[in-house]
């Protein structure tokens, strides 16, 4: 099962996921091609976060299949490390390592997991910190940084592993409106460089601007999807219209 760039880089097929008796995902399917930016929107509790957590195996699935570059995520003999080298993830609460400085946070995974040369990793880490516009904050501890700055360090930390796909789980939900912008600009830069991104977000304006495709989930299923232009203008599903009506 070798993967070629003409096939979807992430392929989600009829995925079912339950927590005990509560079924959170009830047959979700979608494909993401390399370089695409996909936004998943929907009301709270509709399974958006669960869905992207399933993609890098933080949550297991009970039915269907998820493949990332041909790696079957639901397989019992899944090589989790191989999968996670390909898939980077950024969390709502940043989850930086509080006992390490910003640059150490970025350098940790490449030096420890990939066992790469320290000097080279450090040079790359400095470049990544500059890329997320945090020059001068290399030696600050997470506790000394603002939420938006921490989130940008978290993005740099994921990028340091050189992933092929980035997952963003409501990365701006914990930020105040002013700092949301600096994080979104960073993600927009990434998208412009051709990084494959899957975002769970409530930022409709942002979704409209950068997404190639938007999926609307409700109660564990995708009820509406399409490119932003058609999605926002001509959503046909009544639930979607109601949701958009409240937000826009």
């Amino acid at each position: 099962m070798t993967w070629t760039p003409d096939r979807p880089i992430v392929s989600v097929r009829d995925v079912h996921k339950s927590f005990g008796t509560l079924e959170v995902l009830k047959g979700v399917s979608f494909d993401v091609m390399k370089g695409e930016v996909v936004c998943i929107i929907g009301p709270s509790g509709s399974g958006k976060s669960t869905l992207i957590r399933c993609i890098n195996a933080l949550n297991d699935i009970q039915g269907g299949s998820i493949a990332v570059e041909g790696i079957e995520v639901g397989a019992p003999d899944l090589d989790k490390l191989a999968l996670r080298k390909k898939v980077g993830m950024v969390f709502q609460q940043y989850n930086l390592f509080p006992h390490k400085t910003a640059i150490e946070n970025v350098m940790m995974a490449p030096t420890l997991v990939l066992k790469r040369d320290r000097a080279q990793v450090e040079a790359e880490a400095r470049a990544l910190i500059a890329k997320v516009r945090l020059e001068g904050k290399e030696d600050s501890y997470p506790g000394e940084l603002s939420g938006g700055q921490q989130q940008r360090v978290a993005i740099a930390r994921s990028l340091a592993m050189n992933p092929d796909v980035m997952l963003f789980d409501e990365v701006t939900a914990a930020l105040d409106p002013e700092t949301v912008k600096e994080v979104l600009v960073t993600i927009k830069d990434l998208a412009a460089e051709g990084m494959t991104c899957i975002l769970v977000t409530h930022e409709m304006g942002f979704a409209r601007e950068v997404a190639d495709h938007i999926y609307f989930t409700d109660r564990g299923v995708i009820v509406e999807h399409g490119p932003p232009a058609t999605f926002f203008a001509e959503a046909s599903d009544p639930r979607t219209r109601e949701f958009l009506g409240q937000i826009l």
């Binding site: 490390l81 390592f97 930390r157 592993m161």
Partner: protein
Amino acid sequence: MTRKSIPGVTVRARTDLPVLKPFDVAAHSPDPMMTVRWLAGMPWWTPLAMMGAFLLWPAVAHSQGTYGMADAFEALVRWMPFLVQSGFLFNVLISVFAMLVGTVMGAFLGLGQISLSRPVRAISWFVTQLFRNSPWLVILFIVLLALPFEVEVFGVLFFFPDWWKAVIGLSLPVMANISEIVRGAVASVPTAQWEAAESLAFSRTQTLWRIILPQCFKRMIPPWMNWYAILTMATPLCSLLGVEEIVTLSRQAMESENNHPELLVPFYGFALVLFFAYCYPIARITIALERRYSVKL
């Protein structure tokens, strides 16, 4: 953040009926640092005041014999170097070695309690609970009576002095409590830290040693010192089993001074002062460290 208005708690109750206030869980749960907090809360002159109070005790103050308090203190001064060198020194040695052995074993046991393997977890839990909830004296008795006093290894005879056995006996309950400290400290790190490390392709071992343990190491120091203070104060338990330490020797010294009742206060008071002088600074430092390392995430 706006303060919530809760009638009867943050604002005046608008009723004269009895109001059930919220239960303060933290205030009613047992304090793991109780011992050092109690010790550190005393003023430094506490043992002196206690000895003074005993000297005013009617039976002591009005003793009619020819042997007076002055003679008792004179006897104590004669015995002091011996009591410290052959007695208290061993209390310190026993406590240091028991702590060392207990910490190493307890660290492994604590990591065993968070192992992914179910049997390892179950056994570690069982051993921890067994030694944590057994009376120290019972453990000491079993170890002292069960271990041989000499072991022959490859034809060489090794003597097992009593105080070594005391070290092993005391290290077992320490081990169990350190195990709980390690387990609790690891559990206190938010699971999001595990997930973040997982998503960066860290293995479980790497996550534990590079991400989780460094974050909770500082948090483990105050409860660890708390157990050292408890252990040190528990070393006189060995005297019941004839191990030579300060209380055993004090009793023997008093016997050789003809068991005058006047000897009790100076001799046991001296042991009390020694223990206080040793443990009190530990307790004060522990409380200071606890304040400094209190959770900041």
